[in-house]
Symmetry: C2
Subunit: 266 residues, 2 copies
Amino acid sequence: MWVEHPLYTQAMFALDRVHVLAPQHPEWRDREPFKAVLTNDTAAIAKFSESDWAEIVFATHSGMSQEAFLEIVRQWLTTAKHPRFKRLYSELVYQPMLEVMRYLRASGFKTWFVTGGGQDFVRSYAQKVYGVPPEQVVGSSVATKYEITNGKPEIMRLPNLFFDDDHAGKALGIDLFIGKRPYAAFGNSTGDQQMLEWTGAGGGMRLKMLVYHDDPQREYAYGPAGGLPDTNVGTFSQPLMDEAKAKGWIVISMKNDWKRIFSFNE
Amino acid sequence: MWVEHPLYTQAMFALDRVHVLAPQHPEWRDREPFKAVLTNDTAAIAKFSESDWAEIVFATHSGMSQEAFLEIVRQWLTTAKHPRFKRLYSELVYQPMLEVMRYLRASGFKTWFVTGGGQDFVRSYAQKVYGVPPEQVVGSSVATKYEITNGKPEIMRLPNLFFDDDHAGKALGIDLFIGKRPYAAFGNSTGDQQMLEWTGAGGGMRLKMLVYHDDPQREYAYGPAGGLPDTNVGTFSQPLMDEAKAKGWIVISMKNDWKRIFSFNE
């Protein structure tokens, strides 16, 4: 749905938040993974493990109410710019995906986000950017707690994972949040494999499509499928490509199939 | 939304399933809580603890695919009858609740179920009985697992709780599944307290209503609020009644405020 390189947008947000929150955490100056972030050590950041990222995400995505978190994300999105394109992240949205969603909605379908990213992160802009309301965004989430502070109920974000909406979790998330099998599913990485399998296993005609990032000029090129670089961000593996071919899933070449990638392309 | 006595409909379903599954579980004949169910010991069943019910629910609600479970519930609902009213459970739906939901939908609102009961149980009939699609049913759920059997992906139900959509869980469930605060919320028990608090804490006008079961002639009378019997099924506590009065939540008397309770009433 939008640019994943050099890092997922939500990862860029998390890194920026580490800088913003650093004055309240003097201990971060000498502690990894925070130290690497605060010293802008991009080589170290590129090698962060899953647990490094988890530590950064929980430190920056919890400890506040849901309302406060959504407001922090919204504020960030109005100012943060992509390092290469020098544009707001909300402009780095794939025009053909917006068009297919509009087309499907005009044809009587409901359109949903099913994201490995943070459910609340994506909910903060999905209505404005994609025309998708919060209740149609399924994603990964932290646990929450109901608290009454000074007589006012708040939903507080806790520093632990509640639901991991990726790989098999995407099929489970669709069942949990929607309770229906999709008629069309679109992905771009190995995290989407089970969602497409689950969609394809339904009766009748089902559309399964994968976007393949093979356009280094207008966007990025990464795989490792088809010999493109293996960047660890948005992995499209060769086995996924093989399964797509074997099962008749349609692989979209960004380079050859998309006339415009972003709305600002000529 | 529908009759809770002498037991919740889903509890009646679970008890029936124990009988159906008993031949595959000879050990249940000598083991509580199953023995009480198989010998129809209603006095013992009335005293089941939360953990007795959990054992019965997991034994009857897991171990199959989601599709198979939904089909089992649908089949049961076409034949099982309420012991007092001798009608299908799907007929024992409150007519004024159907009317208010239709009215709200006609006025541009989306209507949701937020139930302490099983999300999938309620999803199996919500569209047909209430006009509410599966994706607008939020409830308690078991954990699930994605499995490929003979090349076919299945979502399997596991014997452990994933989400407890009751009490504070109702406010959290609304946030998790919907991501918006309700403009109107309707409840009938202490499990709805936080949902109504959360609704009322939103800005502008918010409608909070509680149905009070005080009509033993046409339905049932239970509390213990207002001195009605404390039946442990659908508890409406005196503190809930006090909070409703203090906060201006509207308490609906089934006896005095509802002209018809069921569509088949005159």
